[in-house]
Structures are given as structure tokens and as C-alpha cells.
Subunit: 261 residues, 2 copies
């Protein structure tokens, strides 16, 4: 799961919408937008929940934190809900975003269609490789890292996307934060440390796969017998001395990001 948030009572005070609810609002919004495009005027909590992949009780509870936007006996007005959720998420305003690290992944992100659609605008692409400077990716010329601070402040960017290799991520993060960015979406497989007040969310392919593998393994040992138990390498003495050094498939460690910047 992508996670994030720095800390803070997990629920943003103020109007106090639970974090779990916030994380689902984009799902509802997507389902609603699809309905809107098909010109469907209203939906019931049941229908919308099913389209969003959640159950209706949860959806109704989620909406109850936003207000009473439905009509009993009828359902929700699609257009109206789209607006209310967009506003709640802050999508009625424009969010300039910079992407740092323009490799395969950075390029994929830059080309992402759904990006521009919901209030997000790619204000700049930044990469440390000088040979990339000036080259357009997704129609936007790549700029050199040296310009980072200027780009952030000139464009009033508050959201940054890090798609660099793991080794460069913290450094890039520090510069982004130093320049005024307060929200970061991190694709590099590293834990970023940021000052209080800065939000970080991470997306990590490797973690997702590992979670799937965990469940996959359970499935395998399910029908056959009771204990799946051993399979390959032998354990090792608990806190005895050191076990064999973990060598093998080349340099891995804090694995390089999805792609070189």
C-alpha cells in the first residue's frame, strides 16, 4: 500500500475527515466522473460503491463526513457530488507539479494522461543528466537540476514527484523541501526524512509485489497440507554468530530506483 503522511493524529483536524476516507475519495471521484460522462444523473450508494469497489455502508459513512449530499429514497446527484468531492480534495484549484528524475519512469509519469485532467499540471521536468537538458519529454523540455530552486519558486510549486534512483532521492527531497515544496510523492525505494509539516507518500513496486507474494505463498500451502514449511535455503542459528553473508544476484541493497535519472 502506498502510505505516507508524516504523523499528526492521522485524521486531519479541522473538519476531521478520517484519513481512510480521504484515501477513498479519489476512487469515488473516478467512478462518478465515469458516470458523469455517460450522463447518468443520479446513483445510489449501492451502485456507486460497487463501481468504486467498496461496500455501500462504508461509502455512506465516508460521505457523511462531507455532509448530507444525497437524497433519501433517491441517491446522489452525480454532478453535484463530483463537485463536492473535487472541492474537498482541493481539485478545484490548479496544482503545478514538478517531476524530478526523467528516466523511463519519469517519462511515463510525464506522459500520464490522467495527470493534467484533475487539477494537476506538470510545471517542469528536472533531471541531473545535462545531456537531457532541453530535450522535450511529453512536450515539456527537461531542465537541469541546477535550476530546481528557481523552477519551484517561479512556478509556486508545492508538490514534487521524485522518480530518481534511490541514492539521489534524499538529496533531491532536501532541495525540494528547501525550495518550498511541502508534499512529495516518492517513487524511489528509500525512506525519506522530511521536516514536520511536509507530507510524503510513497509508491513502491517492490513492496507491492512482496505483499502479493506473502498472500500467494499462503494460498499455495492452503489446499494441500497444513504446514507449507521449508522450501529453499536453510535457516540459521538465532543470535549465534553471523550466518553466511547474503551474496548472490549482483548488487542489490537499497535497490536502484525503477529507472536511472
Amino acid at each position: 500500500m502506498a502510505t505516507g503522511r508524516n504523523h499528526r493524529p492521522a485524521t486531519s483536524r479541522s473538519r476531521g475527515i478520517p484519513e481512510a476516507t480521504v484515501a477513498r475519495l479519489p476512487l469515488y471521484l473516478r467512478a462518478l466522473t465515469a458516470l458523469s460522462e455517460r450522463s447518468v444523473p443520479t446513483v445510489s450508494s449501492e451502485e456507486l460503491a460497487s463501481a468504486a469497489g467498496v461496500n455501500s455502508a462504508k461509502l455512506r459513512k465516508d460521505f457523511s463526513y462531507l455532509g448530507s449530499y444525497g437524497t433519501r429514497g433517491v441517491g446522489y446527484d452525480v454532478e453535484y457530488l463530483v463537485y463536492q468531492i473535487s472541492r474537498e480534495l482541493g481539485l478545484t484549484q490548479d496544482w503545478p507539479v514538478v517531476i524530478v528524475g526523467i528516466g523511463n519512469l519519469g517519462a511515463a509519469l510525464a506522459n500520464y494522461g490522467g495527470f493534467a485532467s484533475r487539477g494537476f499540471r506538470v510545471a517542469a521536468l528536472i533531471d541531473a543528466d545535462p545531456t537531457l537538458s532541453g530535450k522535450p519529454v511529453a512536450g515539456i523540455p527537461v531542465q537541469h537540476t541546477d535550476e530546481l530552486e528557481k523552477i519551484i519558486s517561479d512556478n509556486g510549486v508545492s508538490i514534487g514527484v521524485i522518480a530518481t534512483p534511490a541514492g539521489a532521492a534524499q538529496q533531491v527531497c532536501d532541495r525540494l523541501v528547501g525550495a518550498g515544496v511541502t508534499s512529495i510523492l516518492n517513487f524511489a525505494p528509500t525512506v525519506l526524512s522530511v521536516p514536520e509539516g511536509v507530507d510524503v507518500r510513497k509508491v513502491d513496486l517492490s513492496i507491492e509485489l512482496q505483499i502479493l507474494a506473502f498472500h500467494e505463498q499462503r494460498k499455495a500451502g492452503e489446499e494441500p497440507a497444513g504446514e507449507p514449511e521449508t522450501d529453499t535455503a536453510p535457516p540459521a542459528a538465532p543470535p549465534a554468530v553471523a550466518v553466511q553473508k547474503r551474496t548472490g544476484s549482483g548488487p542489490d541493497g537499497d535497490v536502484p530506483a525503477v529507472m536511472p535519472a
Copy 2:
């Protein structure tokens, strides 16, 4: 947040490790691997927790579900823990994975270094575009979608990654599942419907950005006054008639995936 799981009591029965704990094991593993490479023999819960970005009480509680692998007064043996967590996650075995949809994103995933490292092996790259067939990406020749079923069964693949546009995702998903895949990592911005027993986790850039925007918005209306209130477009009558049709920035809807397959 990447989320997923089909349903099931959220905690996998059997040894009953909480889902939230499973989701953190990969983080601990990464931190431990880094320590292992620096030949650090032991770590305290405090140090490891800090490296993984969680608090120590949580880490200790998480480890308690796996067993008592630490030594009081000392800490945890790094190598031993690496092995135990790897085994728990099912990483001591090899997981062949197929990636469907080889565009920018698919290519970035194929090139992902940390992929091969932790028990995952890219068994095949699949794309519907015949002009890509045979072309190598990250050293692996792309195969045509027609071969999908054969590839899955020949390689005993149980984990599939979908990196196609949203429109093709459900169809690809159905074919993967039909061919025997039981775990899916979905990068397309769609809710996939799968039969009982199949796990789906999703990674969605747009959702992550929207969550960040929500918090970002709160920050903005924090210091100034009490109510951030309005900013752009006007609300609309609640369940009156329909509001203005949401036109604008080109065809968006169920936005196309991060990249064309």
C-alpha cells in the same frame, strides 16, 4: 496507498499476521538488507524502526507476530532477521512474473533493478502491439498477447502486472486469471473485478496526488484565517436538476493508463 486484497477477514488466518504488519515487513526487510550490506551484525528495535520510518513499539509488536527473534538487552541479529522475514514473505522461493503492457511504464518496470533481486523474476513481457513483438526491452523480448495463456502456463506464473491503458485492463485481467494467475498488481486506473481467491493490489499515481492535494489544501488554509472556503468554480444546486456538464480538458473519464501499451 496502494491497496488491494479481495476481502477475507483482512488478517490472513493460519498464523494470523495482521495485514498492516505484512505491509510493513518489506520495509523492515529493505532496511535490514542495507544494514547487512554494511556488515552490521545487530540492530535494536529503535535503530531499525528509525531506518524503516516507523516507531519502535510498532516494529516490536510486528516482529512479535513472527516469533521471538530478538535478544533482550541486545537487539536483533541482522542476517537472521533478513532470513526470517524473507521466508515469511515467501521470498525464499522464485516468483516468475509477467508484465502486460509494455509502454513507458511497462518498460520502466521491466528495467526495475530491485525486481530481480528479491525472488521476483520477469518471466515475460507481453503487449498487444504486434510491432513490438520480438523487440527486446530490458533484454527480454516482448511477446504478443496471443501467447498470454501459453506463457502463463509454461512458466507457472502466478503473479501478473498490468500496465496497460485503463480500457484494456479488465480484459487482460480476465485472461490472466483464466490462465491461472492469482495475484495481480494493477497500474491501470480501473477497479478490476476478480473472482474470489484472487488478490489485486493497485498503484495509482492520480490517487496519490489527490491525497496529497487534500492535505496541501488544508495546510494553505491553516495559518491565514479559519475558513479557506471558495476558490474557483461555483457550487451548484444540491439535488435540483443537472449542473453544467463537466467538459473541459479533453477526453479524460476513466483516464488512460500511465502509458499506452
